[in-house]
């Protein structure tokens, strides 16, 4: 994977809390000194939030469709 994608993966593991102690400290230090990284982390959190909202919307639609099939 190209470096940008490795970075997305690293931040995902960081947010999930699945990094090793050493890696976690490394990311924390980078976040502390690098505003660009802080910005990327904030954007990534927002991306997950967007997916949760879009997922819920899709689930609602699927439930509506089941309702119509069974009881409509």
């Amino acid at each position: 994977m190209r470096p940008e994608l490795e970075e997305v993966q690293l931040l995902e593991s960081y947010l999930r809390g699945t990094l090793s102690e050493e890696q976690r400290i490394e990311v924390n230090v980078r976040l502390l000194w690098n505003p660009d990284w802080q910005q990327k982390l904030a954007a990534q959190k927002l991306a997950y939030q967007a997916l949760r909202l879009a997922g819920r919307q899709q689930l609602r639609r699927e439930l509506d469709a089941i309702y119509l099939r069974l009881f409509g």
Partner: protein
């Protein structure tokens, strides 16, 4: 249904969502509808309450936060009863306020809902493939093996790479929002 059956229901829910939800729906919804109607609600109310309960059940299942000691139907019925009582209380409170003169400045602007709608637009703009991969994985909790198969990827590895490409695109798309939201 015992606890082991509930567990296999959880697995089925993630691998065959539509069929499993339909089974749960067919079994549980008539009970919910009966209850809500008996307690002053309409068919539409029953459906709303039941859908909210299904969403809670689904999200908890994906996040593995749910250890059911009873059947899925009993669990869902419990949520629906609670929610319906909360709704009734809310409605009776609102009814008490109706006679008060309403100052137009108190009308809801709809601004609260704006960010959520905006965020979802970015997901839509990713295109069908990316949208489907990301939602299947992050929201619906599907395994990457299944996602790879459904989207015609030869290996799980290539589906993983594609997933991160899509996520990076979404991250870029929302990044200007996060400047406003999270100023360091």
């Amino acid at each position: 249904m015992n606890a082991t059956q509930s567990l296999s229901m959880a697995v089925d829910l993630l691998t065959d969502r539509d069929y499993t939800m339909e089974r749960i729906y067919a079994k549980t919804y008539p009970m919910v509808r009966h209850y809500v109607r008996e307690h002053g609600g309409s068919e539409e109310d029953a459906k709303d309450v039941f859908h909210e309960a299904m969403i809670i059940y689904y999200e908890k299942t994906v996040q593995q936060q749910l250890v059911l000691t009873s059947s899925v139907s009993t669990y869902l019925m419990g949520i629906c009863k609670n929610r319906w009582h909360q709704e009734l209380e809310k409605r009776s409170r609102n009814a008490e306020l109706v006679d008060n003169p309403v100052d137009p400045i108190w009308e809801e602007s709809g601004m609260e809902e704006q960010p959520a709608l905006n965020l979802m637009t970015f997901v839509d703009q990713l295109g069908e493939t990316c949208k489907s991969i990301l939602i299947s994985f992050y929201y619906f909790g599907q395994r990457l093996e299944q996602i790879a198969q459904q989207h015609g990827y030869q290996t799980v590895r290539s589906a993983t790479v594609q997933k991160f490409k899509c996520l990076e695109r979404l991250r870029k798309a929302v990044s200007h929002l996060s400047i406003d939201h999270f100023k360091p």
